[in-house]
Symmetry: C2
Subunit: 361 residues, 2 copies
Amino acid sequence: MPDFVVVKAPPRSTVVIRTKPGSVDRPATVCINDTVPATIRDVARVSGVHVSTVSRTFSAPHLVNPSTRARVLEFAEQLGYRPNRAARALITGRTHNIGLIVADIANPFFPPLIKAAESHARARDYHVFVADTNEDAGVEEELVLALAKQVDGVLLCSPRMSNTQIERLSRDVPLVVVNRPVPGLPAVVMDVAQGARLAIEHLITLGHREIALLGGPRGSWTNREIRRSATLAARAAGSGLTVLGPNPPTEDSGAAQAEAVLRTGATAVLAYNDLMAVGLIDGLDRLGVSVPGQISVVGIDDTALSRRTRPTLTTVATPTAAAGRAAVDMLLQHGDDRRTTALVTLQTELVIRDSSGVRAS
Amino acid sequence: MPDFVVVKAPPRSTVVIRTKPGSVDRPATVCINDTVPATIRDVARVSGVHVSTVSRTFSAPHLVNPSTRARVLEFAEQLGYRPNRAARALITGRTHNIGLIVADIANPFFPPLIKAAESHARARDYHVFVADTNEDAGVEEELVLALAKQVDGVLLCSPRMSNTQIERLSRDVPLVVVNRPVPGLPAVVMDVAQGARLAIEHLITLGHREIALLGGPRGSWTNREIRRSATLAARAAGSGLTVLGPNPPTEDSGAAQAEAVLRTGATAVLAYNDLMAVGLIDGLDRLGVSVPGQISVVGIDDTALSRRTRPTLTTVATPTAAAGRAAVDMLLQHGDDRRTTALVTLQTELVIRDSSGVRAS
DNA sequence: AGTTCCACTGCAAACGTTTGTAGTCGCTCA
DNA sequence: TGAGCGACTACAAACGTTTGCAGTGGAACT
């Protein structure tokens, strides 16, 4: 039973009056301050122990006597004490923050990834900075540098930078790359090659012999993979594949390519992502071309969109949430041992819906 | 012309050798360390000035001699020096970070808001923590508390907490609330009342006399506003309005309410948000009810979805990006003067698309 | 020549933590 | 009885900055 009370009162400082002459080193009245947050020092004063003991109560509980610990915790609770992570970071060098850099938050591919990464990180007591580069490599670099001192690592999602740039940055801060393998760095990628192959095979099974590939952005590794794999799969089946692009990975861009797609004479199209596929369907619709009646369209990513369009979209499902979680895990593991490299490849699968159909004769 | 050179070499510490006996206090050879980041102290040593001068070079340039400043900047550049924001925060009390707490990142309402807020904040040299509460008030509170020490303020988007809770939290950290007015706190809200009125009037103009309101989540201020305003508008026109709910603001929930909507006998529905509207349309479709043939459906938010559904969705457009920017502005203004209160109300407008039509006779 | 002022720079304390080292105390064991 | 040990706690330095204060030298004014 502590022989002092906790009251509310205005000014800074925890120690106010000593009523009992006996307790010289512990205040009899404690002043909870409403405006200035309590520090470890306040807790120490009130509970009559040294700050280091309070510190250990939180960061190494097994080193402090259970009864002392209980008392400290009680006062910490009463004072509303919360450790200052910035101060802790200053001395330990670990911030318990991570950075998450994406090309475009509004692109429906990313929110599930962000959500999964954030909740996974928080479950491990990490907070997440989210930043948007607007598909700009320069912004990407600046952002990593700006965040470097505030985080224990950065998740670089679908970066548009060069490998060299990325490697250089990785000397300033641990990096995990998502959606692209970078030699010497941990990365998590989706097996889009497999997905693209499945998509092409699906279209060929439906009788299509001339297929168009609606390409994505220039810097994208995913784009190159899709192209490589689709070309191979088409050739293996003796079908033609016409590649269009590079194009920005947006809905508008997909719509704008509708005429170009028609000119290729293809009866089926594989698009770089759902967004472009949806745009393309709209564009074709405006030209009076029906999907899948006259042309089949397949997307990639299986974003929330794909179930909502009419016709619903056949697409390659990429496990974005799993990728977010995996990336966080790799970052937190590799925090110290930065030399370790690993490449996690996540499987993709084809989701057949209504936008692909048998070739019109 | 500085009489020392900059070379690459492995170990910590900037000062290595003095070749010229004359320059006792400035190193002749400088060791750029690849693994440990340069501190203000390294820059000071190399440029032969005190740390405080280096500090001022960055935080109060007008106080340092232009030529000194130039030299310091040059060496800072060469050493790759970047100020440590955590250390700066520790002493200034300002972190240059803000927190952004949303109910569900994957809800298409939020990404545009997050994107706008992040880019607006970054333009002002602030970084943004994004966190997701999964629509849980408890998580909300915990998150604000956890973030409090690391940020200069928090944007609370569509909070599910009680006003009392929010007010209590606002004593720990400056808060700006989005999508809900809280007495005594700065907030930015959308004029959904106006939007709901416009929607109801639109439906009435189309001949509908029995309208259903598909309500949203319990804690939502927006939900109450919509209900209040829709009721008023319907009554003014002598029409009936049946309110359903509360419901979770999700697509599934909208679909699940399809039968309940039919039972009300309404020929038109106003939904709490686009997500529910889209779900409802699906649900009705599954029951063989056509939209807008038999029932008209109007959403709220004008998310990216609404243009992509078939039929495209008539909906109330809320300026989410503008709300994000406004909230950031208010937070950054009110940082010091927390007593100031302000309520920014953003206009909404009705976007008429294909999901609403004249009442079937 | 002396005074005042200004522009600039150095000094040192502070911010809230962590952590290596050095006690102190009471036990156990020989 | 005294050495040794284990459990606990105090001390103090450190992390990388900012900032009030004091000091310096020189220019301008009287």
